[in-house]
């Protein structure tokens, strides 16, 4: 993912991020981080849920593992925002992009669609997760987070800034957060804040390295930037960074010892069946169901669950962390509601499309 001058919420100059010098700018960047992390989820989940039951097991698990980590990143960003005295905002329609979207960059060659699991979807996923090292001349999300880290360091050194105030809303702690891509930790000082942000960079883009060599084999040398930081950070099994996990799927092969970024994966085949997928209409809209009241009702039900989830997450991040527990229940309900929609053909569709959720936030009276 890239950020450029047109990406209005972030200040840039000459295609470089402006340093963060005030607490307001820091909070603004962290709120944007939450929005960016969340914005990847509808895209990944649409591909994930169109996979038919008991098929494409490997692809299903890979996409799911990335989704889990995006939610972990979101929660980490929220904890840093809360820990520095800010207030995450999730309960508003603008929180969700309208698909297809430029997310968050305005490059014409890169649009994020909601689409079924397909080679095209994987290409988009790789754009989203492209490591900083191969994105020549563009500002990546990795750099966006590095800029936040520098901002934290700078603000922490200012004697007139109380960067980690004693009285803040409670953060999301490990007891509220289970099985989700990493171990959530409380942010109370510069070290814990940097740990949280670094976990995001490491999982998403691979461990950052100063002398990255795309021809250097791995895993003989773990600093090739291909591995995520899960092993040293959380004592989890070694995993590939998101870009490389998706690249394995699009190549239909595993990386093996001796492979490099440039060689791509050369190992055993990954069985993938793009036909065992529900043919969801790209970027579903409520208006697609205008003539089909039953589908319209089902989509509305999904959007109600989705809106309820955003309200629950908002509450969890603003004083009531225990609400995260029922919010996970809502996530499961959303999954089943989305799958029910996706199994329904859209009547009279020229392309034999199936339905899909439109991911809209509904205010209370809708």
């Amino acid at each position: 993912m890239y950020i450029n001058d047109e990406c209005k919420p972030i200040k840039t100059k000459n295609n470089k991020l402006c340093p963060i010098t005030t607490i307001e700018e820091l909070h603004h960047n962290l709120q944007l981080a939450i929005e960016l992390e969340f914005a990847t989820l509808p895209t990944y989940l649409c591909a994930l849920y169109t996979i038919k039951e008991n098929t494409n097991i490997c692809a299903y698990n890979v996409i799911r593992s990335v989704v889990m980590e995006e939610m972990f990143h979101l929660t980490n960003s929220a904890n840093v925002l809360i820990g520095t005295g800010g207030f995450p905002a999730l309960n508003k329609p603008e929180f969700i992009p309208v698909f297809p979207t430029k997310l968050p960059d305005k490059e014409t060659w890169f649009t994020v669609d909601l689409q079924k699991f397909s080679p095209e979807a994987l290409t988009t996923f790789k754009y989203i997760e492209e490591p900083a090292e191969i994105a020549h001349g563009l500002i990546t999300i990795g750099e966006f987070y590095a800029n936040i880290e520098q901002g934290l360091v700078h603000l922490n050194s200012q004697t007139d800034v109380d960067l980690f105030p004693k009285k803040t809303h409670p953060q999301i702690e490990h007891k509220y957060y289970y099985g989700g891509g990493g171990i959530i930790s409380k942010v109370t000082d510069l070290d814990s804040a940097l740990f949280a942000i670094n976990a995001i960079i490491a999982q998403g883009e691979g461990m950052p390295t100063t002398h990255w060599d795309p021809d250097k084999p791995f895993p003989l040398d773990e600093t090739t930037g291909i591995f995520s930081g899960d092993h040293p950070l959380f004592m989890q099994p070694r995993e590939l960074a998101h870009y490389y996990r998706f690249n394995e799927l699009s190549a239909g092969k595993r990386y093996v010892c001796g492979d490099t970024h440039n060689s791509g994966p050369t190992g055993p085949d990954i069985p993938i069946d793009y036909h065992a997928v529900y043919n969801m209409k790209p970027n579903p809209k409520s208006s697609d169901y205008a003539n089909f009241p039953e589908l319209q009702q089902m989509n509305l039900e999904f959007n109600r669950l989705f809106s309820h989830l955003l309200n629950q997450l908002h509450d969890a991040f603003n004083g009531n962390p225990e609400i995260l527990e029922p919010a996970v229940g809502t996530m499961f309900k959303m999954k089943y509601a989305a799958q029910e929609l996706m199994r329904n053909p859209v009547p009279d569709s020229v392309y034999d499309y199936y339905a899909g959720p439109s991911w809209e936030y509904l205010s209370d009276n809708q």
């Binding site: 038919k52 039951e53 089902m298 029922p326 996530m331 089943y336």
Partner: protein, 164 residues
């Protein structure tokens, strides 16, 4: 006439679920496959046609009493309709009654496919049975509802949706 869509229409009437909810299980075609393997085409034609005629006469709103008297009380069609209800709710095919089998059973069942004995349609169908959502529960070992959700009352939805 597309018999699979007839199967969904009749299923919706028999289960009181919407067609989109039945399609949403993703296993309707499996059920249809079971049904057409074990019940002769003539009987299914009669069943679907009878319902379609009722539907036409009643302008799309067939009263329950009509379904009871015309279909469920019919000695030939009733047991099949009851098996369709059980398929959707429980994902189990129950052996048809002895007297029905004597009269209408088809002996030439496909070898190694389905037999008219009690069985669970498939491991995925088991998960998709309507009984789980009808009781506000979930299939044991699948469709996990999230940690601690068992402390909430069944059916405790944020905004209950009322399908027409």
């Amino acid at each position: 006439m597309n018999r699979l869509s007839d199967f969904y229409r009749l299923g919706a009437a028999l289960t009181d679920y919407e067609i989109v909810q039945l399609e949403g299980t993703g296993v309707g075609e499996e059920y249809y496959d079971v049904l057409t393997s074990l019940v002769s085409g003539n009987i299914l034609d009669e069943l679907f046609d009878d319902y379609n005629n009722l539907d036409k006469t009643c302008s799309g709103h067939v009263p329950d009493e009509q379904i009871r008297s015309s279909i469920l009380a019919n000695p030939k069609l009733g047991p099949v309709a009851r098996n369709i209800i059980k398929l959707w709710y429980l994902s189990i095919w129950y052996q048809l009654p002895e007297n029905w089998r004597q009269k209408y059973g088809i002996p030439n069942q496909t070898k190694n496919k389905y037999q008219d004995v009690q069985f669970i349609v498939s491991r995925n169908a088991y998960i998709q049975g309507l009984v789980w959502q009808a009781t506000g529960s979930h299939p044991m070992g699948a469709k996990q509802p999230g940690y601690g959700t068992w402390s909430a009352a069944p059916g405790n939805q944020p905004h209950p949706v009322n399908f027409q």
